[in-house]
């Protein structure tokens, strides 16, 4: 039992992201309203960001901005890798955030367009309107 507890404590971030991600995925598949689906999509993408940022964390390290006097001769000072967290996941997630915002913007524009045409955002109503033709 203590081992299981250790396992949970060690990795709870990874478990949480899975829960969050599945909430988003379920909303994307199971919900009927297009806006709710979009919200689900956002949760889904945010969960991935949480996962990546968790990868970057290192115990006992600080944000990856080199401290101290970094004007002249800063390169001489010794920089210890253990003092700073991993910058790479943060860079990747900056990209992923921008991508998800862009996708969300386009999806919103499409929702507006659909609403202009059909006056509804409920999927079953849309399906009914389409099959009437």
């Amino acid at each position: 039992m203590p081992e299981l507890l250790d396992l949970i404590v060690d990795k709870y971030n990874y478990w949480l992201y899975i829960v969050l991600m599945m909430i988003g995925l379920y909303a994307m598949i199971g919900k009927n309203n297009l806006i709710k689906k979009l919200v689900g999509m956002n949760i889904f993408q945010t969960a991935i960001i949480l996962f990546y940022v968790s990868i970057g964390y290192k115990k006992g390290a600080t944000i990856p901005i080199i401290q101290g006097d970094h004007g002249h001769g800063a390169a001489d000072a010794v920089i210890k890798a253990a003092d700073y967290i991993n910058p790479l996941p943060h860079v990747l997630m900056l990209t992923a955030i921008v991508v998800s915002v862009a996708t969300f913007g386009v999806a919103m524009a499409l929702c507006v367009k659909i609403y202009q045409r059909y006056q509804t955002l409920e999927e079953d109503e849309l399906r009914m309107r389409l099959s009437e033709k």
Binding site: W15, I29, G56, K58, I66, N86, V91, A109, V112
Partner: protein, 272 residues
């Protein structure tokens, strides 16, 4: 659909949980992700690029090529909103408000328009008159927000910040203008054509800096090749600043384009 969704969620969740079994513990400093490349970036980046903010160093230099496409994605989103929603048909009805009396005027003849100014102001159909307090506060705030945005862009390689963040702050200051006054005020000051050209130009600055480095005999985006023109000192950090400015321009313009097109359903006349 709900049942299908539930089954898919259970399967995917199970798969992911299975995958966490062998992951290194959270925050373990000896995991491969924290040692293989990360150490190199942390110890070498300041020396090689002279940017103390390692995230910016990786973002705009080591992986600058990624970031260029990221900016292209932003540009693409702005263009998408324009292409999908923009509606060039002129509006039939016009609403005005007589400022001294507060009387609403509804002009149905599309040929006749009322000159706005001291006496009349533009109104939306579903919009309450803008409040003097809100207007004044926002008018005072907006320039400060914009200066802060420029600071965030310019300071990206020393402290948290950069083109994306600064661009979003600048864009939001313009959106604040639209919210506190009305959309027409914004569209009149920042025209659609300006925004369209500006968003392309922003990405063009980024790609241009890369392409000129190529013309100077280096690889694409190799800022070091600018040394003969700008001097050796801090040349890579300078290159980063250049591309961050481009990113900031593009993001600002695209934020406003997306906002205007979505709130006004592409009519650019009234909205939130």
């Amino acid at each position: 659909m709900k049942l299908v969704g539930f089954i898919i969620v259970c399967l995917t969740g199970g798969l992911l949980l299975y995958g966490t079994g062998e992951l290194p513990a959270w925050g373990d400093p000896n995991s491969p992700a924290s040692t293989h490349l990360s150490d190199d970036y942390i110890t070498l980046a300041l020396e090689q690029t002279e940017a103390p903010n390692l995230v910016t160093a990786v973002l705009a230099d080591y992986r600058g090529f990624d970031t260029m496409f990221e900016t292209a994605v932003v540009f693409c989103a702005g263009l998408a909103c324009f292409l999908l929603l923009r509606d060039f048909r002129p509006k039939k009805d016009h609403y005005y408000r007589h400022v001294p009396t507060g009387v609403m005027l509804h002009v149905k003849n599309e040929a006749r328009t009322v000159r706005t100014g001291r006496e009349f102001e533009d109104m939306d159909r579903e919009w309450v008159p803008s409040d003097t307090i809100i207007k004044t506060v926002c008018r005072i705030l907006i320039p400060f927000i914009q200066i802060y945005a420029l600071y965030v862009v310019a300071h990206g390689d020393f402290s948290p910040g950069g083109g994306f963040q600064g661009g979003v702050i600048f864009g939001s200051s313009l959106i604040l203008l639209a919210i506190s006054y009305n959309l027409k005020t914004l569209v009149k000051r920042v025209t659609e054509k300006f925004l369209g050209v500006f968003s392309s130009l922003g990405v063009l600055v980024y790609v241009g800096i890369g392409a000129i480095a190529m013309a100077l005999g280096g690889n694409f985006l190799d800022y070091g090749k600018y040394a003969p023109i700008f001097g050796e000192h801090h040349i890579r950090a300078l290159g980063m600043l250049g591309v961050e400015i481009g990113v900031g321009m593009a993001v600002t313009a695209v934020m406003v384009i997306i906002y205007i097109n979505i709130v006004s359903e592409g009519r650019h006349d009234e909205g939130l």
